[in-house]
């Protein structure tokens, strides 16, 4: 008994050194908190290389809000550094040639891809993000026609940090106009893998704006516009704002939005209808070798602006508005369809819908779907209702 106890104690003592290592320990002052990254492809050193830009937060400048967004001694809140490397992981490690801290992606909120990296290296980017243990599934992906470097240096005007601005766009700002659809990694990858759907990524760009202080430089700020269409291996084209809204309407993702319509056949729209809620249902059928897709939309809206001088809150007036509303929705959807068929990318998920409703038929056409897709006849059935007219019914000035 005594010897066994001795052995036991020795065993325990020998375990203790294992606890002294603390291998995965990262003190909070030794991590570089990356809030967003940008990926670009450039030619350097006689070859194609990746350029990774990272926004690292300077914590002492953000805390408490006591110093505001100016920072001390004019230093911006986040530090934007780039590195060049043969692959993305190479770039990540090369960042440490400039930054003394461990690059920590745990709080990274968004990834911005430049156009050529989205076109050519999309699968590589997705793989890097998916495999990395720190990167979370809720990272937002963006593409831009400008350079990600500039984007990551842009000035977040209202929010504290760029990350907050971007996230606000996803949840608060974006749905109000429904002209951009900000998606996160899990959703994009889900749609990418599913045969018969192609994802759309939000398109962000920079624009020049007036300087913040008198006598200062003009600053670059963020602006969101439309979307980029991804098909299989990479970016294939762009959707304008209206086309993006059409896409969002067709897939039932639109939330609110202003729809200017023309009731009086004027050159300029004279009525604005605000979408409040909508739902959409898609049906795809194969009829004698032709594919027919029917999109049913049910939308509700309010009247928010009226330039005319006639009574509008009457039965005929409401009917007119509803018709114009439905027509406008239809136009936008068809614009999106036209663009998608032009790009030959099934962003609406017709293929997936066929797969769901008729798996046997889908098996036949799956291989040729991208040939069939541009020839799909798309019909829409829009039911639009106008519910309210705001606080006044008829306009102030009547004829």
């Amino acid at each position: 008994m005594k010897r066994e106890q001795l052995v036991f104690v020795l065993a325990i003592i020998m375990i203790f050194p294992l606890f002294s290592g603390c291998w995965s320990r990262n003190e909070i002052e030794t991590i570089a908190i990356v809030s967003g990254i940008g990926i670009d492809k450039i030619s350097a050193d006689g070859g194609e290389k990746f350029l990774l830009t990272a926004n690292i937060v300077r914590p002492s400048l953000v805390s408490g809000g006591a110093q505001g967004t100016g920072g001390r001694a004019g230093q911006p809140i986040s530090w934007s550094i780039n590195s060049i490397g043969k692959t993305l992981s190479d770039c990540e490690r090369n960042l440490n040639l400039r930054a003394a801290r461990t690059i920590f992606y745990g709080h990274t909120r968004y990834v911005v891809l430049s156009e050529n990296s989205a076109r050519e290296e999309f699968s590589d980017v997705i793989d890097y993000i998916g495999r990395h243990p720190d990167m979370r599934l809720r990272i937002l992906l963006f593409v831009t026609r400008d350079s990600p470097q500039d984007l990551l240096k842009s000035f977040p005007e209202l929010e504290n940090t760029r990350a907050r601005q971007v996230m606000g766009m996803e949840s608060i700002g974006g749905p109000r106009a429904s002209k951009i659809d900000v998606r996160n990694m899990a959703e994009i990858v889900g749609e990418l893998i599913t045969p018969g759907v192609d994802p759309v990524i939000a398109h962000v760009s920079t624009m020049i704006s007036a300087p913040t202080e008198a006598g200062g430089q003009p600053i670059k700020v963020l602006r969101f516009e439309g979307g980029g269409v991804i098909r299989e291996k990479g970016l294939v084209g762009w959707l304008s704002e209206v086309e993006t809204r059409g896409y969002m309407l067709a897939t039932g993702r639109a939330r609110e939005g202003a729809f200017p319509v023309n009731l009086q056949k004027q050159p300029m729209p004279d009525t604005t209808l605000n979408l409040t809620r909508m739902s959409s249902k898609t049906r795809v059928e194969l009829k004698e070798n032709r594919a027919v897709a029917t999109i049913e939309i049910r939308a509700e809206g309010d009247l928010v602006e009226y330039h005319g001088q006639e009574e509008i809150a009457t039965d005929e007036g409401i009917l007119k508005m509803e018709k114009a509303f439905a027509k406008e929705i239809n136009n936008e959807i068809m614009a999106a369809v036209k663009k998608a068929q032009q790009l030959d990318a099934d962003i609406f998920g017709f293929g997936a819908e066929l797969h769901r409703s008729n798996p046997k038929a889908w098996k036949h056409v799956e291989k040729d779907w991208y040939v069939i897709f541009p020839t799909i006849e798309v019909k829409t059935k829009v039911t639009a209702d106008i519910r309210r007219t705001g606080f006044i019914a008829d306009p102030y000035i009547l004829k």
């Binding site: 606890f19 603390c22 909070i28 002052e29 908190i33 937060v57 805390s63």
Partner: protein
Amino acid sequence: MFNVLRRKIKTTLGRNKDLQVSHQKFKHGEGSGGIEQRPVDSSLQKNKQVLQQVFNNCIDVKFREFELGTAPPVNLMIVYMDGMVSTTDIHVSTLNRLMLLNGLMEEITPGDTLNLIKNKLLPLAEIKEESDLIKIVDGILAGETVLFIDGERNALLLGAKGWETRAVAEPESEPVVRGPREGFTEKLLTNTVLVRRRIKSSRLKVELTQVGALSKTEIAIMYIEGITNSKVVEEVKKRLERIKTDAILETGYIEEYIQDEWKTPFPTILSTERPDRVAGHLLEGHVVLLVDTTPFALIMPVTFFHFLFAAEDYYASYQVSTFIRLLRLAAVNISLLLPSAYIAVVTFHQEMIPTPLLISIAAAREGVPFPAFVEAFIMEATFELLREAGVRLPRQVGQAISIVGALVIGQAAVSAGLISPAMVIVVALTAIASFSIPNYSGAISLRILRFPIMMLAASLGLFGIMAGLMGLLIHLCSLRSFGVPYISPIAPMVRGDLKDFILRAPRWAMFTRPRMIGYKEPQRQEYMQIPRPPKTNAANKNNDAGNDKK
């Protein structure tokens, strides 16, 4: 050197005669040469001599010789310990009666004086005859007055005890908002009376035993026959008998002698100052020990969760009690885990913190010289020191220094850049949480365990904390307190007991006693006495319409 070694080996093996306990050495009385080991002598002077020798240099033992007021007079002597006897009784009921006799001038037959005095002359409630001098000496030391009668071979022990005791007051360690404010005092008889007033049943048994060679402390074992497991009572008595020591100064001594496991920081016996709590536990089938000279009673067997209950839980309504118990559960978790969780999250799992908070913490820690673990350790140790210091200081000063001092020191340390403000908050929250645990020994064990878990958190993050908690769980699951598993009713799951566990069921729903402890008589109240208003009869409806008539 060898002598030292030999002596040490002998001590370990228990054979060192020089290290005998008092009770072995003085088994035959404490006087030198066993002078007490004899019966009472019929000669008064002889007795007086012996006693004076035994109580040599004890000036508080008083000898008073006097004569019985009969003709011929008989020599009497009383011996008593000054201060431990009720002098009124001595003057009025003893000396008065015996010396002045109230006109009872009879013929005294030798040999009959004892009975005459005992049965006719002394109007005292308690008189005992005794012939063994050892017991007489014990009696004097316990406050009895001894009456020696010249010519008799027995002495009389007069029960006229009385000494200064504390009044019955609110127990300071367990105050309540609602409930009785009586607390135990240092006198055993007062304490048993306080319990008897709450359980007026002859099934409440009170057995007496004595422990301690020099202190000869009286211990009362109380239990309710028929509800308590008799095996537990026997076990308690057996363990008390096994205690061979010099003195029992507090129930803590007894606790450490009779507890089931000594290697654990968790207490397996509950101590309390409140008689209502004792009565409540007696009714559930526990066994209670009351010890003379200390107001703390011991309750056994208990589970871990008994240390998280307060007396008030049973006096307030069930919603309030449930809410407060949930709060206490959170307090237990915070008290044990908060500093470790902070260390683990800040050092290993930064992705768990919401981004703005992470940035604040990072900013706050930029200038701090110590890593998170050292910071936490220093602050916790300082807080524990402050708390202990606060207990020792006089009451008014102590409160101020504990709380205010801690916060001020914390603030100063933050300003000096030694620690980060988040740490101050963590430590303050932990301290407040540990104060809200009702029982001191329970809170102490959690406080102690906080430090090893902090070390595990610093080395292995959340995994380390979890491993520490699993080890703790294994330990808790293997503990038993007088046969009751320590963390029932969770494990083993006793569904009937869950009604008084975290949530407290309404009073009408608590019909059974805790199964593990009071299983001999499971039901304690009528089934389903749900309170409700009386059913109304159409004829005597007292509704609003009736008001019109008036």
